[in-house]
């Protein structure tokens, strides 16, 4: 296995799928010679040329809409939205067109478009550039929503997304691009709808997705030092959602924390908590807790931003408060 960055894993996936299938093309702002604002598409323009790596004006609605239209007539577009903060001007296309075209027209046509975009905070980009909107897409029947946490998943899930015949929101995370992980040398795909046990443990379950998986792992390390064995579940895909893997875990540990980088109220972790309490009600020894970003527009100032984000320590503190007395030193 090679150790590569999350960014490189994405790039490999794009490259391999473009080599494999000539109907795959990329479109987005500054993705060609510029290589993408976060350099994910670097080098692909040189290899595949201007028709397959297509720069666009700053017109997110048209970018996504053109992707949908091209998908309807046989192409497999991968649209990059520079960051998820700019997806709001294009969300109508995603929800009213991409998600509905198959159903509303009686299954006559598929929309195999992938929309790649990073979310997340932590770089002092301020309120308009530090958001998480995965929940907006997870809410919508007709979409698939995936949030890989590791380079291996990033690559395998992006390849699956491109081959999927449905619109896929492929949600990356700004803070993950430089993270490194092992990626198989040989070709592989990671299926949608299968959560992953990132770490086994018996005392408490921590459910997370995307960057928060890393934070959960950090928290689990810290808890382990105090003799608490946390099981970390990486959801991987929000729609389809594999609730059985975390539910199984909770039935074993009897306690769960759902961690999200998004806002707590009405966010992804609300759905996970609400469903887990249904699936594991009789096993629960404590209410399912949530740890999230503070419910505020993200402030620019470093200390404020840092205080607003969900850190491992908050998970640790929450876990310890939930566990029986014997765990509390």
């Amino acid at each position: 296995m090679a150790k590569i960055t999350y960014r490189e894993a994405l790039r490999q996936a794009l490259r391999e799928e473009m080599q494999r299938d000539p109907s795959v093309f990329l479109l987005g702002e500054d993705i060609a010679q510029f290589g993408g604002a976060y350099k994910v598409t670097q080098g692909l323009y040189d290899e595949f040329g201007p028709e397959r790596v297509k720069d666009t004006p700053i017109s997110e609605e048209a970018i996504v809409g053109a992707g949908i239209g091209a998908a309807m007539v046989g192409l497999r577009p991968v649209a990059e939205i520079m960051t998820i903060n700019f997806i709001l001007v294009a969300i109508d296309q995603i929800i009213n067109n991409a998600a509905k075209i198959s159903y509303m027209f009686g299954g006559q046509v598929c929309v195999p478009v992938v929309i790649r975009t990073p979310q997340g905070a932590g770089h002092q980009l301020g309120a308009q550039h530090s958001q998480n909107f995965d929940v907006y897409f997870a809410y919508v029947p007709g979409l698939k929503v995936v949030c890989p946490a590791t380079p291996a998943d990033a690559k395998g899930m992006l390849k699956t997304a491109i081959r999927d015949n449905n619109p896929v929101l492929f949600i990356e995370n700004l803070a993950l691009y430089n993270t490194v992980g092992e990626v198989p040398e040989e070709e592989y795909l990671v299926p949608f709808g299968k959560a992953r046990i990132a770490r086994e443990g018996r005392d408490i379950t921590i459910v997370a997705h995307s960057r928060m998986v890393l934070t959960a792992m950090e928290a689990a390390d810290k808890l382990a030092k105090e003799g608490i064995e946390a099981e970390v579940v990486d959801l991987r895909t929000l729609r389809p959602l594999d609730i059985q893997t975390p539910a199984e875990s909770v039935r074993k540990t009897t306690r769960a924390i759902v961690v999200g980088e998004d806002w707590r109220s009405y966010g992804v972790s609300a759905e996970i908590a609400a469903t887990l309490q249904e699936e594991a009600f009789d096993y629960l020894d404590a209410p399912i807790a949530r740890v999230n970003t503070a419910g505020i527009p993200m402030p620019y100032s470093k200390p404020l931003e840092s205080a607003a984000l969900p850190h491992a320590d908050k998970i640790v503190a929450t876990a310890k408060a939930m566990l029986p007395r014997r765990f509390r030193k």
Partner: protein, 363 residues
């Protein structure tokens, strides 16, 4: 010393008249009405009659509660519908808005399937899932009626891009209303279409109203074709009550798309006789105005022309009326007798099957 201010520059002012394609000396289509084209011309005439009767039947079925939801009719716009669709080739794609029954039928979608869709039946074009606003027929390359104003324009740009990408000789038509030219998607789509040189014909059906608002209440530039200046896009305005004028203008735009790989903004000025949808009594328009436009009725006008050059006679007209009546009656009966979708199919079609996904999940 005071500087001489640079005068703000404007696009040239053009009167509505001067902009309408063709001119008084050479009325559009004058040389087109020849015996060798009889079959074509009568077919077009019949299609206009079909739209009219189909829509009237739909309106009636709506009042009889056979049809629900919104119902937007093409009545009055028949020349624009038939003239534009008539200029396309079978391989071309069409994206429309919610006022699209006529476009679908002229594209070749069966009136039975369209009516059944309005009835919400399993035999409808969209298996009852879509309704009046969402007719779709992949075979006829009629890629749908859409309900969000402006929302389908970007799709047409993407499909147009794909035609070039695939080295196809098909082009794409995008149909939308005057009111839709004031929404962001219009701007982004036309800019991108011209920048990328996509083979798209943007057909603006300017029926002078967007719901209760006249075009002048919506935009300072009421001649929609002129908005193309912001994209250096080819543009033309045509009398949308004149089938041949629309046909010829669309042919020019289609050629430009197919041969030159360039989009066109084509404006057809027409009128909807009815309200915006069935709930709208249209009180914001004067009776005189409606009457004025009815006097320019596209079907009556075209029939007159055909009769005057001897391509049809009264008997022929009656025959067409009768044939159309049968088609429409049959469509209504078919729709009425068709079954509703089975409740067990409620969750069908949300997702397309993905071969690869089956493969990787082993499912």
């Amino acid at each position: 010393m005071v500087m001489k201010p640079a005068e703000p520059r404007r696009a040239p002012e053009l009167s509505a008249e001067s902009a309408v394609g063709g001119s008084a000396q050479s009325p559009p289509g004058a040389g087109f009405l020849t015996p060798d084209r009889q079959a074509q011309l009568l077919h077009w005439y019949e299609q206009m009659v079909l739209i009219r009767q189909f829509e009237e039947a739909a309106a009636e079925m709506y009042t009889r509660a056979k049809i629900g939801g919104y119902l937007h009719l093409n009545i009055g716009e028949e020349a624009t519908v038939v003239g534009s669709m008539g200029a396309l080739a079978p391989q071309d794609y069409v994206f429309s808005n919610y006022r699209e029954h006529g476009h679908a039928i002229v594209r070749g979608v069966s009136p039975r399937a369209v009516m059944a869709e309005l009835f919400g039946k399993a035999t409808g074009t969209s298996k009852g899932r879509g309704g009046s606003m969402h007719i779709f027929d992949v075979e006829k390359r009629f890629l749908g009626g859409y309900g969000i104003v402006g929302g389908a324009l970007p799709l047409a740009v993407g499909a147009g891009f794909a035609m070039t990408y695939q080295s196809s000789d098909a082009i794409v038509m995008s149909v939308f209303g005057d009111g839709s030219t004031n929404i962001g998607a219009f701007h982004e789509s036309l800019n991108m279409a011209e920048l990328w040189k996509t083979p798209v014909v943007f057909l603006c059906v300017n029926n002078l109203y967007a719901m209760g608002k006249s075009v002048a209440e919506e935009t300072p530039v009421t001649e929609i074709w002129r908005k193309a200046c912001a994209y250096d896009m080819a543009a033309e305005r045509v009398d949308g009550m004149d089938l041949l004028a629309v046909y010829e203008a669309t042919t020019r735009a289609a050629d430009r798309a197919r041969q030159d790989r360039r989009p066109t903004l084509l404006e057809a000025v027409t009128y909807r006789y009815r309200g915006h949808s069935m709930a709208d009594a249209g009180t914001y328009r004067t009776a005189e105005e409606v009457e004025h436009w009815r006097r320019r009725d596209p079907i009556v006008t075209f029939r007159g022309k055909l009769i005057s050059v001897g391509l049809i006679d009264e008997a022929g007209v009656d025959e067409i009326d009768k044939r159309v009546e049968e088609i429409v009656t049959d469509a209504v009966e078919f729709a009425d007798q068709s079954p509703f979708p089975d409740l067990s199919t409620l969750y069908d079609f949300i997702y397309c099957e993905s071969a690869e996904e089956r493969e990787v999940t082993g499912g």
